[in-house]
């Protein structure tokens, strides 16, 4: 094959992938500007009406605030645990390390509906079902592998001599962790943390099982609204999600640089 046709094939595949991945987003965002009363694409006309509507809808507003709260709880729980666990997995020769790895994979292999029902039973037993914060904890549990992997890959890329160097500089164990190890894996912590936040914002299935009318989060609220009629305001809400995700990516780029994020295995 010549270089030209190789490049042609390469770019065809690249653009095909980009298109496939972005079509749903484009349609949803486009549909949110329609003037029609039913969701439609391409949009008929152009209006910000639906954004006005969702901005004024109390149920959506409150669900959004609840989602922010839940995501924050998830972040607070998962960052310390995920960071320490990720470091431990990368740094120490742990007994049953393989078993631990598999265990950490479990949330992925068990269907979310299973995890959700399990947590519903446990939370019910503990009589905390109906509070908002347990949902954050639950989302931290099911998504924990993301931040653990993110941190442990950053830790794996760290020169292990750095910690020895710190101790020969006079740093004790805690000082070594605080001044050398933690800053070293910070890109992984930030990446993992943002991922946890965005995943918690949009998590649906487990949230559905753990929420009730007083604690409904945004994805669940959207689902509730769909059950009656699909109106363009739902497209507008979805567009807000897209904006949040884009914001997270922008933040990541500013904080750690996307190239580090893309490099982490």
């Amino acid at each position: 094959m010549t270089a030209v046709s190789q490049r042609f094939l390469f770019w065809t595949i690249v653009w095909f992938c980009i298109l496939i991945l972005s079509v749903p987003t484009i349609i949803v965002v486009g549909a949110s500007f329609t003037t029609a009363n039913m969701i439609s694409f391409p949009p008929e006309g152009f209006t910000f009406r639906w954004y006005e509507k969702i901005a004024l809808a109390r149920d959506l507003q409150q669900a959004f605030i609840r989602s922010l709260f839940v995501s924050t709880v998830c972040l607070i729980v998962s960052v310390p645990i995920g960071t320490l666990a990720g470091l431990a997995l990368a740094r120490f020769r742990i007994r049953f390390a393989n078993l631990v790895q598999v265990y950490l994979l479990l949330p992925f292999t068990i269907p979310l509906i299973g995890s959700g029902i399990g947590m519903m039973l446990i939370f019910g037993e503990w009589r905390i079902l109906g509070s908002l914060w347990p949902i954050g904890v639950a989302l931290a549990v099911i998504n924990l592998p993301f931040i653990i992997w993110s941190v442990s890959s950053a830790a794996g890329a760290l020169d292990s001599d750095l910690e020895l160097a710190a101790s020969s500089c006079g740093a004790g164990r805690f000082e070594t962790f605080w001044y050398v190890t933690l800053p070293g894996v910070m890109p992984g912590v930030i990446t993992g943390g943002l991922l946890m936040f965005v995943l918690a914002m949009s998590e649906f299935l487990v949230s559905l099982l753990l929420t009730d009318a007083r604690t409904v989060t945004l994805p669940v609220q959207i689902y509730n609204n769909i059950r009656s009629i699909i109106t363009p305001d739902l497209a507008a809400v979805s567009s807000v999600f897209v904006v949040i995700a884009l914001f997270a990516v922008w933040l990541l780029d500013r904080l750690v640089g996307l190239e580090i994020f893309l490099k982490s295995k």
Binding site: D161, L162, L164, S167, S168, C169, G170, A171, G184, M186
Partner: protein
């Protein structure tokens, strides 16, 4: 610091002050072979010691035990008269330059150098001046605000040296920091290490596999192989009077002859008596191996042209290699079949004087051929 005051009261007649003493230190990682096997040595204060050996010789393990990164399984290490035992690295006053430097990538050059001062609780008001002073010492004045990845390889070396020395440790350890540099930079940094070490007078232990570096920078050299100390001597002595065939072969370029010891201390190979001097415990009839350096063999077109060599042999040129400042010949002596000699020939006019297959004569003086007892196996 009772040890220091004791040293002050020591007689002023040049009594040696020992900075580091290792006695019967061993390291057993399991697996039946000791990584370091019963190593004992003393290092005087202010001197530059190089531990030289091939990879797997145990030299890095020995260094790491001195640093406190690993605990020896037997023996004792004493620094300034105090047994360090199980003291963790941060409780030892040791500066270290690592092979991969291990500079903190999220800090500037100055922050890297300030780190040990911060950790060792130096008066914060004195830190900036001290950091600048040491950056000046390593010729990096004005580079303090650069991030590590903005510095060249040589500059990073200098930051690592400043970081290791800034708190004026009792001991400086160098773990092959020059191994990754290209030849020019390496030779420049070797001289830098020497200059800085002389300037500060800090006791230094360097680890390397580079014999040239060891000879250039050191006051003392320990040669290690197979976890054991093979020889501990000053560079000139080590080079001129190796005490075993390993050292003879590891430093410089040597050729070897095998045979049996004669009554008067020479080497008998077949009908030929090879003249040399025996080093160590050699008695008549024991199997021996002799070593001679490439620059100590003379080479000429015929025996009369050799001049006054006590040992003379006819030989044939097998290969000839141009090395820039000299020509190296590989020759085989007619009376020692299967034994090749490597000979340096420094002759400004006549490079390429001999060709492959040419008959030549080689010769040496008795004192230059060292005869060692052959290892038991």
């Amino acid at each position: 610091m009772t040890d220091r005051s004791a040293a002050q009261y020591a007689p002023a007649d040049g009594a040696r002050e020992i900075a580091v003493r290792a006695s019967h230190v061993s390291m057993d990682f399991g697996g039946g072979v000791l990584a370091v096997d019963d190593a004992s040595f003393e290092l005087e204060k202010g001197r530059f010691l190089t531990i030289l050996g091939p990879s797997g010789s145990g030299k890095t393990t020995l260094l790491r035990m001195i640093a406190g990164f690993q605990k020896q399984t037997a023996g004792e290490i004493t620094i300034n008269g105090k047994a360090v035992g199980a003291a963790p690295p941060h409780r030892r006053s040791i500066g270290m330059v690592f092979q991969r430097l291990a500079l903190f990538p999220h800090m500037t050059a100055a922050e890297n150098v300030a780190f040990p001062l911060k950790m060792r609780r130096f008066d914060p008001r004195t830190i900036p001046d001290r950091v600048n002073g040491f950056l000046e010492l390593v010729k990096l004045g004005g580079y303090g605000n650069r991030r590590i990845n903005e510095l060249s390889g040589g500059q990073q070396q200098r930051v690592a040296i400043a970081r290791a020395l800034v708190f004026e440790p009792d001991l400086l350890l160098l773990d092959e920091p020059l191994a990754a540099l290209d030849v020019k930079l390496r030779e420049e940094m070797q001289l830098e290490f020497r200059r800085i070490q002389h300037e500060l007078g800090v006791t230094t232990i360097n680890v390397t596999h580079d014999q040239r570096e060891a000879l250039v920078v050191s006051d003392d050299i320990i040669v290690m192989d197979g976890g054991r100390i093979q020889q501990h001597a000053k560079p000139v002595e080590l080079y001129r009077a190796p005490t075993n065939p390993f050292v003879a072969g590891f430093l410089g370029l040597s050729s070897f002859v095998e045979g049996k010891a004669t009554a008067d201390g020479d080497l008998q190979s077949g009908d030929l008596k090879v003249l040399g001097v025996s080093a160590g415990d050699v008695t008549e009839g024991v199997p021996v191996i002799a070593a001679i350096r490439a620059e100590q063999i003379r080479l000429a077109r015929s025996a009369p042209a050799l001049g006054a060599c006590e040992m003379q042999l006819d030989a044939t040129v097998i290969d000839t290699i141009f090395e820039g400042e000299r020509q190296m010949y590989i020759v085989e002596a007619a009376s020692l079949p299967g034994t090749t000699f490597r000979v340096y020939h420094h002759d400004p006019e006549g490079f390429g004087l001999f060709d492959i297959g040419d008959p030549v004569a080689i010769g040496w003086n008795r004192r230059d051929l060292k005869i060692f007892r052959h290892a038991a196996e």
